[in-house]
């Protein structure tokens, strides 16, 4: 059975960066009401404005959870601009299993949450 890569099952058992942060520069939460997946991501930035700490919580299917792990791991060290221009395809590549249109929404939920959080943070700054 290779529907899901081993890695996705691994991440389902042992998610990366899972948990709340004590304090956060910003955090954002959203859900995918049609399937009920919910993701909350919190970020701390270093002095140069790059991600140095990230934590996520939430619940959902193995795909959205794996996506949250992979995405939060990948953005460490990125600037907010990097995040805002993070291409959805890159996240889908990280997941690495073919996804139907419906499951794609699960996979991209963490990115949607993250980018909305960044937009909020940026516009509050200005």
């Amino acid at each position: 059975m290779d529907i899901y890569r081993e890695q996705i099952i691994d991440l389902h058992e042992h998610p990366l960066n899972f948990g709340e942060l004590e304090t956060a520069d910003f955090c954002h939460e959203d859900d995918n009401p049609l399937c009920g997946d919910i993701i909350r991501i919190a970020i701390n930035l270093d002095d140069s404005g790059r991600v140095y700490q990230v934590g996520w919580t939430g619940s959902g299917c193995a795909i959205s959870q794996a996506a949250a792990s992979l995405l939060t791991e990948t953005i460490k060290g990125m600037s907010l601009t990097d995040i805002q221009t993070f291409p959805p395809e890159r996240l889908l590549d990280l997941i690495g299993v073919p996804l139907s249109q419906a499951r794609r929404k699960c996979a991209l939920l963490p990115l949607k949450v993250l980018q909305a959080g960044v937009s909020g943070a940026v516009s509050t700054d200005e």
Binding site: M1, I3, Y4, I9, C35, G36, D37, C61, A62
Partner: protein, 408 residues
């Protein structure tokens, strides 16, 4: 009992492979049923031999098309024991049935402060139209809660049904729990306070013998695609007195008697509610589906589904970490809804799909029900006249493999 192998041969799709070498196990009939050959042939024959617009033509095709389309209406009327075929209104689906009543009857009869009583196990089709109506009119929507076993809490009925209740609408069969509700008892309770009572029969008409006169409901609706019929067609049944008192829903051709620049008058029932060129092939297809189901016998179908449901609930309950929702098999239709500890329903559905097994995962258009259960999604296997115990066995084996894949 049914000769299930013979029945399976009636459905072309059941010999299709889901994936190369993997036969299809279709356990999603509650979402939409498969279609027997006879239904496809009837629609095809319509298009190849008599296709024409109905009601307005004098030429042969138009007459043949009109006769076939209206003959289907009569068959459907008999199938649900409607007093007269003029009370059978073709709609797109059950959803349109509710919206037609909400717009036409509802806007004429519901006022500020009036109450609409629904249940917490309703499909969105029987929630959203009434919420929209209530919002427009300043009416109040109330809900009968359900108990832990997925049956309605009938002890709440007395308190919730009052003389303010103008409309009471509920499902005959829950599409999530499979619960078979006591329709006649609920209808009588609604009538006792003077409410108009509508029944959602989308999961009832495909699976059991339904008699609208025995139910005594004022309105009732169901969809063709869940009962071996095509997409794009459904039925609204109504009591004549109500249908006659109602203004039209949509305006256009066919539903008028006379149109002038100053205004219009309406056609007789049922056409008053059927604006524009109707779903002709679809009506004919549904008529054929009804013939097919009646030929097998709704009681036989129900008995088979009872048998399969017993078997399935028994087999599924052996799976570790499974939670099954809904009442015992004897009180429910052919639906088994469940979750498995540690695996999201979407993942379950995706994994068993690779074994060729089609089940559904999500909220099944019943979000409030899921909110009450405090789960965001469930998995649902649903059965029909062609479902076999072997298919249930395959589902169980595949669910066990899914647990292993998830290292449970």
């Amino acid at each position: 009992m049914l000769d299930v192998e013979k029945i399976r041969a009636d459905f072309p799709i059941l010999s299709v492979e889901a994936y190369p070498g993997v036969p299809l196990v279709y356990l999603d009939s509650a979402a939409s049923s498969q279609k027997p050959e006879v239904v496809l042939a009837a629609m095809d024959a319509y298009y190849r031999q008599i296709n024409a617009n109905v009601h307005r033509g004098i030429h042969r095709l138009s007459e043949d098309a009109t006769n076939a389309y209206e003959a289907a209406r009569l068959k459907i009327a008999r199938f649900i024991n409607a007093p007269d075929e003029s009370q059978i209104i073709y709609v797109r689906n059950a959803t349109e049935g509710f919206n037609l009543v909400a717009y036409s009857w509802g806007r004429q009869n519901i006022q500020a402060g009036d109450e609409i009583l629904l249940t917490e196990m309703e499909h969105h089709a029987n929630l959203v139209p009434w919420q929209m109506l209530a919002e427009e009119k300043g009416a109040v929507v109330r809900y009968i809660p359900f108990l832990a076993d997925g049956t309605l809490d009938l002890s709440r009925l007395d308190g919730l049904l009052t003389e303010r209740t103008k409309l009471f609408s509920f499902t005959a069969v829950s599409n999530v729990f499979g619960t078979i509700n006591p329709v006649r008892q609920l209808v009588d309770a609604g009538h006792a306070v003077g409410a108009v009572v509508m029944v959602d029969a989308a999961q009832a008409v495909p699976h059991t013998a339904v008699d609208v006169q025995a139910w005594d409901c004022d309105f009732m609706t169901f969809s063709g695609h869940k009962m071996c019929g095509p997409t794009g067609i459904g039925i609204l049944y109504g009591k004549r007195r109500l249908l006659e008192s109602m203004p039209p829903f949509m305006g256009g051709g066919d539903m008028i008697r006379r149109v002038t620049l100053e205004g219009s008058t309406w056609n007789d029932l049922p056409w008053k509610f059927e604006a524009g060129t109707p779903s002709i092939a679809e009506g004919i297809g549904l008529g054929t589906a009804v013939d097919y189901l009646a030929g097998i016998g709704m009681d036989n179908i129900h008995a088979h589904e009872q048998f399969i449901t017993h078997y399935a609930l028994e087999a599924l309950s052996e799976i570790k970490g499974i939670t099954l929702y809904g009442p015992p098999a004897s009180q429910r239709a052919g639906v088994a809804t469940f979750t498995i500890q540690g695996i999201h329903p979407h993942d379950i559905s995706e994994v068993v799909d690779k074994d060729g097994i089609a089940i559904r995962a999500g909220h099944h258009c019943a979000m409030p029900l899921h909110l009450r259960l405090n789960v965001s999604a469930t998995a649902r296997a649903s059965f029909y006249l062609h479902t076999t115990t072997q298919e249930i066995d395959k589902l169980v084996a595949s669910l066990n493999r899914t647990r292993k894949l998830f290292r449970l």
